[in-house]
């Protein structure tokens, strides 16, 4: 088991290097640091001196890959590539354009993100599976048909509408909870968090339920279900003991992959509700064109994605007796 995980981590290194090269190419090769400085400083009447000053202040004044005249340090380490990209591997994200420490920011903003993402994740999972099971139980009947149509309608509504509509209805018309805001204090946090959590859940019901329904129906058509029926088991037992347990294999593995990504938070939910999580952090960075933060979040996202892949493989072995790690 441990050997397997170590091996998977080693596999991950070339992927992270690839991610790094892509982002580096996007940020530094397509546009030179000069262009970026000009962009940040405004285009009109920018002197080269201002540009140099900005570059120096943000650490972009070094050569990209190879430093021919190292003032201090190595010819390779004293470059933009090393400082801005390679350091990411040590989770040293450096400073944002406004001078704040990104690593510090991330570790602070992680918690509000999780405060929304975790309840949404857990409740959605349970709710969607329950709905899907109900629909699967009444398969090929009107309940099934109406259920699917409802799902399709729900998933055709833009997530922006769920948020804006929810805010308008609950907060503005009914005045039940504040429109937006956040508090680190647990008691007051609840009233800020409840609406985004509910909206997050409702927004995902359509797609989620339909997806799980497909999985259940695929399982129900298999031979072992016929065997279970031939034993004289009730439809309820067939569904819960046989179908559900088999369906858990695709469900769990799909679900486990996204668990690490919960850290990244929800972009628009946090932004609309003014929650100081990583999602709104990312959006703010994009809007203010803070490349350092975007780079850091890209790297963090990839790491979490790879962790998700590894967790997926491990979860396979836990729900499916047919699969053992390392044996293909």
């Amino acid at each position: 088991m441990l050997a397997y995980i170590i091996r998977r981590v080693i596999y991950a290194i070339p992927i992270l290097i690839g991610v790094n090269l892509i982002t580096f190419a996007l940020f530094f090769v397509v546009n030179k640091p000069d262009d970026m400085a000009r962009m940040q400083l405004g285009f009109k009447h920018v002197q080269q001196a201002d540009i140099d000053k900005w570059k120096q202040a943000h650490g972009y004044d070094k050569p990209l890959f190879y430093n021919r005249a190292p003032t201090e340090g190595n010819a390779f380490t004293d470059t933009v590539f090393f400082v801005k990209s390679v350091r990411l591997f040590a989770f040293d994200f450096g400073n944002a354009d406004d001078g704040r420490n990104i690593t510090q920011d991330i570790s602070e903003r992680m918690w509000p993100s999780l405060a929304i993402a975790i309840p949404v994740f857990i409740v959605s999972l349970l709710l969607n599976i329950t709905f899907a099971l109900i629909i699967a139980f009444f398969r090929a009947s009107y309940v099934d048909y109406m259920g699917v149509v409802t799902c399709v309608i729900l998933m055709s509504i833009s997530s922006l509408f769920y948020i804006i509509g929810g805010q308008y209805l609950i907060s503005k018309l009914l005045h039940l909870v504040p429109i937006s805001g956040y508090s680190a204090d647990l008691d007051t946090a609840t009233k800020f968090l409840i609406l985004p959590v509910i909206i997050g859940i409702v927004g995902g019901i359509g797609a989620g339920t339909r997806w799980y329904r497909t999985i259940f129906l695929e399982e129900i058509s298999k031979d072992y279900v016929r065997t279970a029926r031939a034993k004289g088991l009730s439809e309820r037992l067939v569904l819960f003991r046989h179908v559900l347990k088999n369906a858990l294999v695709p469900i769990l593995t799909g679900v486990v992959a996204v668990i690490p990504l919960l850290f990244m938070g929800s972009l628009i939910l946090e932004s609309f509700f003014g929650i100081p999580g990583l999602g709104s952090y990312t959006i703010d960075a994009i809007r203010s064109q803070d490349f350092a933060i975007v780079r850091a979040m890209v790297f963090l996202g990839s790491v979490l994605y790879i962790i998700g892949l590894i967790l997926t493989d491990i979860s396979y072995t836990m729900v499916d007796p047919r699969i053992r790690l390392g044996v293909r």
């Binding site: 892509i22 399709v152 308008y168």
Partner: protein, 497 residues
Amino acid sequence: MSTTKPNLILFSIIFIVIALVSPLEEFWQIKFVPLWTDLLIYVLVVAVLLFGIQVRHKEHLRVPWRHVLQRPLAMSALVVLGVYVLIGLMDSLHFRQALEKQQGQTETQYSGDVLSLFDVLATPIRVQQEKSYSAPFSAFLYAKETIETPEGQVRDYPRLQYGGRHLKIPAQDRIPNLVMALFLSFVATLLILLVVFVVVVFFVAHHYKTAFGDTMDAIVGGKTGIPFRAMLITFSVICFLVVVVVMLADKYHILGTDKVGNDVLYLSLKSIRTGLVIGTLTTLIMLPFAIMLGIMAGHYRGWIDDVIQYIYTTLNSIPGVLLIAAAILSLQVYLANNPEMFDTVTERADLRLLFLCLILGLTSWTGLCRLLRGETFKVSQLDYIQAATAFGTGHVKTMSRHILPNITHIVLIAIVLDFSGLVLAEAVLSYVGVGVDPTTISWGNMINSARLEMARDPVVWWSLVAAFVFMFTLVLAANLFSDAVRDAFDPRITRSK
């Protein structure tokens, strides 16, 4: 045998189009301005036509499509989609109109405005611009202003320049006027429907060689194989709405106006093209990569498979929004530093739209690629691939003749399933600030600029609602249709207990 015919058709279409361009320009006094996305849309239309021709000849494609054609919900959705596509296509024919010739001028001068066919048709709602917000069907602005009247300065809601200007006393005249218009629309719709119904019955009767009366009974009773009744009902609803719009659009702002006084109906309709472009061109751009790499990985295996897997895992591991953000930000910097590249704002916005499609495609091809790789694996195990190898058939031929035709259903399902997701994604990306150009009219931009007004009291709701309704209708229709397509083509989905 079967491959030469579509090629012939393709070449003849291109030839006819090229031959027609310059006489048409002469005749209409215009100059075509083909945008990049326009060209790709034409390519797409031709591809869809060719595919349609293929379907008619291939039994394995015709049978599932027949299943789709028999689903009332799907076919109603198709009618709705058809209307959207029609508007989108009309909005994809761009040109510049000739200016009046000045004295002594020999060369024709062309206007700097790039218009589309749709713009010309929608001229009333395009040019009737107010000063600021006004509610749907209102004759007044939404905010009080100081008005100069003969009696002196009054603080009141000023009359609109265009909306309801035919009304003498809006408070009294408006409702009777609207009721009358609705009634007339209703009558007009009924007349149109009658004609359409007779035409449909005639053609159906002709095609299936049934009696006229029987055909009519079958359609009214909903007993036809293709659900004509459901389609006609959908059509009549759309028809009524269109008639209402045609009758009222130059007299009122049916959906109100936005902050700078643009007609919201015009904006909503213009957004259709943006949504369709993102939903379709993205797929069109990513499709060749996904298919080629997916099949190659599954067929060759070994190190080629390893490399392709590495590429898509790497791309997949970057969170989609961030990759798009990074790419769009880089593009922005690039465009800002090279402003001399474009003649018009429209062309610049168009390039950004295309680039958005490209980068969206780059982030979304990985899923399809992985799916195709797996399916190719499965197909490669089958005996007919072994048989082909036993004949000494080459790799390229094996992939193109044996593997590709047997995985097209997956590609098709992916295309229709992706469409609605991409339309929705545009709105979110535009909200985040990495979507289409701010000058491009899109639902995302509409929502983005209107959501701040939600805080106003009373609320300016019509922009938002209009954008949502138009977007929702498109996405719902697309979802319903893709559901039917998936049911018909996916062998894993069983429709029984």
